[in-house]
């Protein structure tokens, strides 16, 4: 019995250690971003090693991005988003899972790099080499806008599988109602706008260019951006 208990403890410890493995790296963060691990908020910096079941939260006008350690994919979280990161090693490859509770998440995934799924409260999207934006709004509506490749979306409540290819947007309601349509200019603009906001730095930068006037005096042109 004692041996069994000891084995259980060892297995539990091993499981904890395995669970604590690094699965991703935080490659960018801007504004107010929280990192939650084991129900505790952590202080972090760019380059933080992210572990399985870590939760990233972005507030208004904030942005975060991370990469899984197999370098297969880049995930960008835009303002007011909540994502749980998880991954497990399977047959020498990393099976990656991005759970989007709410907000907007852009995923760029290389093909042939292991399973990659995006979970929303109502759907599971599987991809093999693609780029798409996932949005979950306050009413629980999931929206997938595919800009490259193809995405298979399974509706959790019905088990129905949808397919959305490049240029398409799939919308699934909490009740499982769905539609796949051509992406509208507003859908594409939303992605571009989010990326633009993410690329803006919080503090403006200034470049000073020295120039000489006709009298030979040095003057400066300041460009703030």
């Amino acid at each position: 019995m004692k041996r069994l208990c000891l084995l259980v403890v060892i297995l539990a410890l091993a499981a904890m250690l395995m669970a604590a493995d690094t699965v991703a790296v935080l490659s960018a963060s801007k504004g107010k971003v929280n990192l939650e691990r084991n129900k505790q908020d952590l202080k972090f910096k760019k380059g933080e090693l992210l572990q399985d079941q870590d939760i990233l939260r972005t507030k208004a006008e904030s942005f975060a991005a991370y990469k899984f350690i197999d370098a297969s994919s880049m995930i960008k979280l835009f303002s007011n988003s909540v994502v749980t990161i998880s991954a497990t090693a399977q047959s020498g490859k990393l099976a990656k899972k991005v759970s989007v509770d709410r907000g907007s998440v852009l995923a760029s995934v290389k093909s042939g790099t292991g399973a990659f799924t995006v979970h929303t409260p109502t759907t599971v999207a599987s991809v093999k080499g693609t780029e798409f934006m996932t949005r979950v709004d306050a009413e629980g509506i999931s929206m997938f806008t595919v800009t490259d490749g193809e995405v298979e979306i399974q509706i959790k409540s019905t088990g129905e599988i949808l397919s959305a290819s490049k240029g398409k947007t799939a919308i699934i309601s909490p009740k499982g109602e769905h539609v796949v349509r051509d992406s509208s200019p507003e859908d594409i603009n939303a992605i571009e706008q989010a990326e633009l906001e993410a690329n803006q730095t919080t503090a403006p930068s200034t470049i000073r260019i020295p120039v000489k006037d006709e009298a030979g005096n040095t003057k400066y042109i300041e460009i703030t951006y």
Binding site: T22, S27, K67, A203
Partner: protein, 795 residues
């Protein structure tokens, strides 16, 4: 100077001056994270060398770091040393050899002439194979310094073969493994305050016992908007070593050396434009009645100001103060068009010797020197230099330098010297044309005994020089603070013999480094602030080093020297030296090397000095040495890459004298030959390293019909345990003397262990046993034991 210009002489540079001739074939490249072994083969004059050090630094840095070289054995031409892995990351490394002679002289290979380039090592692919399994997760090509530099690398694809404990991370020329966060599948290195510029990063590791390495990742760090404090960087080492000696054997055995310990530390720091250095050496051999062994130096360098306190060897000019240690204060203020250097301190300490019947000592010698330069070092400049070295009579009690004998005469057991040197130098440097020419003219005054004090008016009368000295209205007494004038001056009346001058022209022309130098030194020229000048002589030196890319380097020099410059001696001696070397190396093929050295001399009668009673005895001298060698790094041999160097030498030394017209008779007639062989193996599958060197030489004296032979074999093996943390080694060296030497042999056994308990710390314990056996002579056999413990921490 343009970068290509430096790269021309990477293969080999020959020694073209002083007494040694050496060949070095630079490895050219290094693998980040691995030390580089350097081999210097001294083919001529090796017996004059006391120590050889490697000076190295990352390209662009000011401070030279030092690593000592080890001489294989007294009769071996090989000196070996190592640039530590710590210094070899992914930046170019510059190095040179610092040779110190038994006479105290020192010089560099390549020469420190500001025209010849030093050796360079370029970062090469690390050992092993490149792996795509290292994946960069932070792949921004440029970042702002405000963001901080982050290197995140995944090696998930290499698991489970890769050993995370073997991972080494190199960023910006430094091994940053210790500061990296290394997990099972990812490593992370972060620098919150990176410097602007290009940052290169590379990762090495071992997988299944084989060495692998990543791509080199390049990131540009752009200036940030946040003003940051300047980073303080510190490099150097702290060291301790102790030696314990014992000798046992027959009565006539040599005495055991005094047990000793020494601690030394070399610290080099930089903070923005400020460079600092501290060098300390404390030895148990320090004795207030010997010249100092302990050394301490504190230095500070700013863009326009250098200040050194303590032991320092300034180079003001060739004839005033050059390469000699002065313990004191040294300052140099310099700008593009002006420079003022001042040194003041003690060049000799006062020491006393006393036994039951005799007392003597050494006076404290005070050194003062100054140099004022006007003009640009990159254009035309003129310098005025002066130095004074004076023995301070009051530094010794009278009993230690003089006594009165039974006849009432004063007898000096030590004499106080006074030396004043003034010189003027000029140089024209045209960097764009790679041409430099210059001249220095110096005059000296030397007094070999100032104890009697300045000459008096009455004594001047005796010389017929009253009322002023040398026809000038000058009172020697009032002049004594600067220089003591008395009858002990050499010569009493200064003249042309007190002068020395040299002129040189150096240029780089069509792949040739050409150097022409001519000098004349008067018979009474004395400069205590420089190493011995060859007095009463003229010397012409012409040398050339030619490079054809990295393929072929040829160097040659011719020098002619002649004494009796002033023509007052009946005989004049002429000597000619010719020295040539060549190294041919084609990438991935063996290198070939050869050297030639010739010395011829003869005397001739000086017809201007008439002395009919003198019988002239002409002599001729002709000696020659030549060597051929080759080397190769056999990377193709599976499991045992082998580095080979082999040389064969031969030569002769012949001289003859026609003694008083009796016809020429040989004075010396020696022929010598020898072979030296070095084999280094670094096994790939096991952490074993072996070294074998063999030296054999034979010398035949035809006059006495004697033949001498000696040979030595050196074997060493070391093996690393616990991921290179502990490295025990064993070595054996035997030297046998045979033929007309009789049968003698020396055997050395060494057993030791090197350990690396913490990062960049080395602890070495070595037990050496040496035995000497002479089969022909009784009572001279002995054996000695040496135990050595050393500790070194680099940072």
């Amino acid at each position: 100077m343009k970068r290509w210009y430096f790269s021309l002489l990477l293969i080999s540079v020959a020694m073209l001056s002083w007494g040694v001739v050496a060949i070095h074939v630079s490895p050219q490249d290094f693998s980040p994270g691995s030390e580089v072994e350097l081999l210097l083969e001294v083919t001529q004059g090796g017996e004059e060398l006391a120590t050889v050090d490697i000076n190295y630094r990352m390209s662009g840095e000011k401070i030279w770091l030092i690593e000592p070289m080890r001489h294989d054995s007294a009769d071996s031409p090989y000196w070996r040393g190592m640039i530590p892995a710590l210094a070899l990351a992914n930046n170019e490394v510059e190095y040179r050899f610092d040779l110190k002679y038994r006479s105290g002289m020192a010089e560099y290979i390549p020469a420190d002439s500001s025209l010849e380039p030093n050796y360079f090592l370029n970062p090469f692919a690390p050992q092993g194979t490149q792996s795509t399994g290292f994946v960069l997760l932070t792949d921004e090509s440029s970042i702002s310094a405000d963001e901080g530099y982050v290197l995140a690398v995944s090696y998930m694809a290499l698991l489970p073969d890769l050993d995370p404990g073997s991972i080494k991370v190199f960023v910006g020329g430094k091994d940053v493994t210790k500061r990296s966060e290394i997990s099972d599948s990812v490593l992370l290195y972060r620098e919150d305050k990176p410097r602007e510029g290009i940052v290169k990063a590379i990762v090495t590791a071992s997988a299944r016992g084989k060495q692998i390495y990543s791509d080199t990742w390049i990131t540009q760090v752009l200036p940030g908007s946040i003003k940051r404090g300047l980073p303080f960087t510190l490099r150097g080492s702290a060291n301790f070593s102790t030696n314990i000696y014992d000798v046992s054997g027959d009565e006539s055995r040599p005495k055991a050396a005094e047990n000793d310990y020494r601690s030394w530390a070399d610290l080099y720091g930089s903070y923005g434009i400020l460079d600092l250095q501290t060098n300390l050496l404390i030895s148990s051999l320090e004795d207030s009645n010997r010249q100092p062994v302990n050394r301490y130096t504190f230095g500070l360098q700013l863009p326009y100001l250098d200040v050194f306190a303590g032991d320092y060897s300034p180079n003001l000019s060739k004839y005033t103060l050059s390469g000699k240690n002065v313990r004191g204060l040294h300052g140099k203020f310099y700008a593009e068009l002006i420079e003022l250097s001042v040194s003041h301190g003690e060049s000799m300490r006062a020491t006393k010797y006393e036994d039951e019947t005799f007392k003597t000592g050494t006076f404290k010698q005070e050194a003062m020197a100054a140099r004022f330069r006007i003009g640009s070092e990159n254009g035309f400049m003129v310098g005025i230099n002066g130095s004074r070295h004076r023995d301070i009579v009051s530094s010794l009690d009278e009993a230690f330098y003089q006594y009165t004998d039974a006849l009432g005469d004063t007898v000096y057991t030590a004499m106080a010297k006074d030396n004043l040197v003034l010189s003027m130098d000029a140089r024209l440097n045209v960097p764009d044309q790679h041409v430099m020419m210059g001249v220095e003219v110096a005059g000296s005054l030397y007094n070999h005994n100032t104890i009697p004090g300045p000459i008096t008016s009455a004594e001047l009368d005796e010389y017929g020089l009253a009322p002023g000295f040398a026809g000038m209205e000058l009172d020697p007494d009032s002049f004594a603070d600067l220089f003591v004038i008395n009858k002990n001056m050499e010569p009493f009346m200064p003249g042309r013999a007190n002068l020395a001058w040299n002129a040189y022209l150096r240029m780089y022309l069509a792949n040739n480094f050409l150097n022409f130098e001519y000098s004349e030194t008067g018979s009474a020229f004395n400069a205590l602030g420089t190493y011995a000048q060859l007095l009463d002589s003229r010397m012409l030196t012409i040398s050339d080093q030619m490079s054809l890319g990295r393929l072929l380097t040829i160097s040659a020099s011719y020098s002619f020297s002649q004494d009796n410059l002033t023509g007052h001696k009946i005989e004049t001696n002429n000597y000619q030296n010719i020295n040539a070397q060549a190294v041919l190396r084609y990438p991935k093929l063996p290198y070939f090397k050869t050297s030639f050295y010739s010395n011829t001399g003869k005397n001739k009668m000086n017809s201007d000095v008439a002395d009919e009673s003198y019988v002239f005895s002409p002599f001729n001298r002709d000696s020659m040495n030549m060597s051929f060698g080759l080397g190769y790094n056999f990377l193709q041999i599976p499991y045992v890459p082998t580095q080979l160097d082999i040389s064969y030498r031969f030569g002769n030394d012949f001289s003859e004298l026609n003694n008083e017209g009796a016809g020429f008779q040989a004075q010396t007639d020696n022929k010598n030959s020898g072979i030296s062989f070095s084999l280094n193996n670094r096994y790939t599958r096991i952490p074993l390293r072996t070294q074998l060197s063999f030296v054999s030489s034979n010398n035949k004296n035809s006059l006495d019909d004697m033949e001498y032979a000696n040979s030595s074999i050196f074997l060493k093996a070391d093996y690393s345990f616990l991921a290179n943390k502990i490295k025990p080694y064993v070595s054996f060296r035997t030297t046998g003397l045979s033929k007309d030497y009789g049968s003698q042999s020396y055997k050395n056994y060494n057993l030791g262990v090197e350990s690396y308990p913490i990062h960049d710390m080395t602890v070495t314990a070595d037990l050496g046993i040496r035995s000497y056996a002479n089969d022909d002579t009784d009572d001279v056999d002995y054996s000695s034991t040496t135990f050595r413990l050393s500790l070194s921490q680099r940072f």
